[in-house]
């Protein structure tokens, strides 16, 4: 038997040598850029059908039309002459998982891709040489991107690494901003004759009153008082939040919420809500049924995006609840009336798009990005759908949606665009000013105005880290984040007593939260130009 093993071992060694050798060769040879008839200006970008770019992103999903069948993306290909070879994953999570693995292997990458993970991850991929630098390409082939940067310097600032290079395009949001406010059933408040809450204490009182009432007339105790994120209440305790883990104070000092002097009181408040059964009963399980329960007339308050209350009202009315009326509430203030609340960044930088080292046509790729990312024609097509059918430009030069798009019997505007055109949710997650101004109005605009009038509008920029910052961040942040996530839930549900709060803070210190805060402070100072 021993001899057989020896033969096997030999086989093994040979096989691994062959494998290792093969790998090295594949990594070493770079395919030279193919020759293609590229038009440096005007459309189409290339002779139709002569160039295929692979584009890896998550698909739109759900009942909406897939990107590789979407009419607007067929049109994009006709106009640019570029054939897109979509490499789609069913959703963002699946996409991140598979693309991270592909990037780690570093071979046969698509031409264009959404870079998975955080901005730190994107920088790491850039420093590792997987993404090509874009500065020269933008200079030559990106006139629309240059114009976008000139008009919105924050987009350019958020796109650059500290060394001053651009490796990726970031998603942006212009016009009427999406602030994820909380929507409440105004008709229920009216029926119970109570005022809309403004402070934490009032919120608790209102939620309790609603929960204990039978305002939805089912005869059962089945109302879910608050179906939203609890960090919405951070503003009632002097912190600023739109989720996430840290912010800056009035003196531009960066702090983690968990280390804020009032974080404990905030947790006590959230625990009180949980104890009294006012939160989502599935709180802390990572699951939620709130979206399904809103049209069943069982949710009092939830976090809503722009234009969602109108949509939910319509759903409820269709289900026979004629008086249903969701109204936005501005976030809770501290007892002395102070409000600090965040709207989304113009330069969102929550998603990033790059050109990989394996792309044979970086020039074509840049011209293609320029068209869909920043050109008027491209963004109108991919966001608002087809000209003449879905939208038109009125005498004042403003974009307006047609009746077909707005008053579609089966869908609201967004649903129509996504289902019939594959528009709006572009793979690049952009929102232009003319598009948002045409689609968002009514309830949302009024509340946005209220927040802006209160002076509570703040934004936290996503800042591109240096390589060293990225490395420390990667080591420190995962554990700190896990610990904060976990302990927040345990304190709120009461699985852990708040008497042990000091121990929680000590653990965070031992996980070097102070060093991480310093890193973020340095980045923020850099952003402020200090």
């Amino acid at each position: 038997m021993k001899k057989v093993y020896r033969v096997l071992a030999l086989l093994l060694v040979t096989a691994s040598l062959v494998y290792a050798g093969g790998g090295r060769e594949a990594a070493g040879t770079r395919t030279s850029a193919g020759v293609q008839p590229l038009n440096t200006h005007g459309l189409p970008i290339v002779e139709p059908g002569s160039v295929t770019l692979s584009f890896a992103v998550q698909d739109v999903g759900g009942q909406f039309v897939s990107l590789d069948e979407a009419p607007v993306w067929q049109l994009v290909q006709e106009i640019t002459g570029v054939t897109i070879d979509w490499q789609l994953s069913p959703d963002a999570n699946a996409y991140d998982t598979s693309m991270m693995t592909r990037l780690a292997a570093g071979q046969s990458l698509p031409d264009l891709l959404r870079i998975p993970g955080s901005v730190s991850d994107a920088v790491r991929y850039a420093h590792e040489g997987l993404l090509i630098p874009m500065d020269d390409l933008i200079e030559t082939y990106g006139p629309n991107i240059q114009r976008l940067y000139e008009e919105n310097p924050s987009i350019e600032a958020s796109s650059r690494t500290p060394e001053g290079q651009i490796y990726f395009l970031i998603n942006y949001l212009l016009g009427n901003e999406n602030a994820n406010l909380t929507a409440v059933r105004q008709d229920w408040l009216d029926a119970l004759s109570i005022d809309a809450p403004t402070t934490a204490e009032e919120w608790h009182h209102v939620l309790k009153t609603v929960k204990e009432s039978d305002v939805n007339s089912t005869g059962r105790d089945d109302i879910i008082a608050y179906g939203g994120y609890i960090d919405y209440f951070l503003s009632a305790f002097g912190m600023t939040s739109r989720g996430g883990y840290y912010w800056y104070d009035d003196n531009d000092r960066v702090y983690f919420y968990a280390m804020h002097p009032q974080f404990r009181e905030y947790l006590e408040f959230a625990h009180k809500l949980y104890r009294d059964g006012l939160l989502d009963p599935m709180y802390g399980s990572g699951q939620s049924m709130v979206a399904e329960l809103v049209p069943q007339n069982r949710i009092f308050a939830f976090n809503a995006w722009a234009a969602e209350p109108e949509l939910r009202d319509a759903e409820l009315k269709a289900a026979g609840f004629a008086n249903a009326n969701f109204e936005y509430l501005i976030p809770p203030t501290t007892p002395d009336g102070h409000l600090s609340f965040s709207t989304l960044n113009v330069a969102r930088n929550t998603q990033r798009y790059g050109i990989t080292k394996d792309s044979r046509y970086p020039e074509v790729a840049m011209r293609f990005y320029d068209f869909i990312y920043a050109s008027e024609q491209g963004t109108r097509l991919t966001l608002a759908g087809i000209e003449g059918e879905d939208w038109y430009i009125d005498e004042g030069g403003k974009l307006q949606f047609t009746d077909l798009a707005i008053r579609n019997p089966s869908y609201n505007l967004i649903g129509y665009l996504r289902t019939h055109r594959g528009a709006f949710v572009t793979p690049m997650d952009l929102q232009t000013a003319e598009f948002n101004d045409a689609r968002i109005g009514g309830k949302f605009a009024v509340n946005l105005q209220r927040i802006q009038d209160s002076g509570g509008n703040a934004q936290y920029p996503v800042i591109v880290p240096t390589a060293e910052e990225q490395e420390r961040d990667a080591v420190l942040f995962t554990d700190i984040k896990s610990h904060i996530d976990e302990m927040t839930i345990r304190f709120v549900t009461g699985a852990r007593s708040l008497a042990t709060f000091d121990e929680f803070v000590r653990t965070l210190r031992s996980l070097q939260i102070e060093e991480l805060t310093e890193i973020y402070q340095k980045q923020y100072d850099r952003f402020l130009g200090k």
């Binding site: 093994l12 096989a15 494998y19 570093g106 790491r124 009963p281 399980s285 990572g286 699951q287 549900t493």
Partner: protein
């Protein structure tokens, strides 16, 4: 080099060649399997060396800087080291204690069943969940236990208790994990034992009945001893994966609220290694896990050999 050794080596090579040639069809038959293991199991082992390197995508595996045991030490010092180890061990242990006997009991019960029609129905229903993907199993589970209108919580409510947030409370994670595992696998695994049961010589039962043995006595004296070798082999195989907790299922079921009891080595590797882009760290932790598994397998195999004379090798 002495001539004697050369001659001996030559003789040995000739013997190997002869042996290979004589069994050439057997080798041919085994070839696809051997190639599979080499390509998919042995060659990738080379990649495990990133556990000892500071892996950089750009420089590749061989080009990355060698850092020795740095990442192992980082893990041993990490705040979650003890917890992930404990959770992995406990979940495995509970799955073993409750999950391992379940299919045996099911097989024994089915074996005693007189109505073959009923037996077939039970068998079909019990092994059906095996063919449903874990994602869907967990989806069904979430629906069954959700505190809003889940059937389990309806029962809890009828008993006069407040609905329980099963998926969100750390105390409930392990019971849910283990019981849904039994639901998923007991029926399927019982097939192996049922096969072993059919191979028992019926004459044994006949003579037992003649000797006046009761059914219980026949069960304990004949049936169970006859399937013990099968049980031991299954147990040894199981021991080799004792410290491997299926990642997908934990990942689908857990949330920050249940990390306390649910966070196992493999999910920790996933969170830090893959999501946190610390590939070398993840590889080191994964390798550590595999080493424990190998030690467990060898130990248990050795013990089984000594105690019962049944062993894998």
């Amino acid at each position: 080099m002495s001539a004697e050794i050369v001659v001996r080596t030559h003789a040995r090579m000739a013997r190997i060649q002869r042996a290979l040639y004589n069994n050439r069809y057997l080798w041919l038959l085994a070839m696809p399997g051997i190639v599979y293991f080499i390509v998919f199991h042995y060659v990738p082992m080379y990649g495990a060396t990133i556990a000892f390197r500071n892996y950089s995508f750009a420089r590749g595996i061989a080009g990355s800087e060698w850092v020795g045991f740095r990442y192992f030490i980082q893990y041993f010092r990490a705040a979650d080291f003890v917890r992930t180890l404990r959770n992995t061990a406990l979940i495995s242990l509970y799955t073993l204690i409750f999950g391992f006997p379940a299919p045996i009991v099911l097989a024994l019960i089915l074996n005693e069943c007189r109505f073959s029609g009923f037996k077939k129905i039970v068998q079909t229903i019990s092994y059906l969940p095996y063919f449903i993907s874990t994602v869907i199993i967990v989806g069904i589970l979430v629906n069954l236990v959700n505190p809003i209108d889940g059937i389990v919580n309806e029962a809890v409510r009828l008993l006069g208790h407040r609905p329980i947030n099963f998926m969100g409370e750390a105390n409930w994670f392990r019971p849910l994990y283990v019981s849904s595992n039994i639901w998923q696998y007991a029926g399927w695994t019982s097939i192996v034992y049922l096969a072993a049961l059919t191979s028992i010589d019926p004459e044994l039962y006949e003579s037992a009945i003649i000797d006046g043995a009761s059914r219980m006595q026949a069960l304990f004296r004949i049936t169970i001893p006859s399937i013990i070798p099968t049980v031991i082999i299954m147990l040894i195989i199981r021991m080799g994966t004792l410290m491997t907790v299926g990642m997908e299922k934990v990942l689908l079921m857990y949330s920050p609220g249940t990390y306390e009891t649910a966070d196992v080595i493999s999910t920790y590797v996933y969170r830090r290694g893959l999501l946190g882009l610390q590939y070398s760290f993840g590889a080191a932790v994964g390798l550590f896990n595999s080493v424990i598994n190998t030690i467990m397998l060898l130990t248990f195999n050795y013990v089984a050999k000594r105690v019962s004379e049944t062993s894998l090798f």
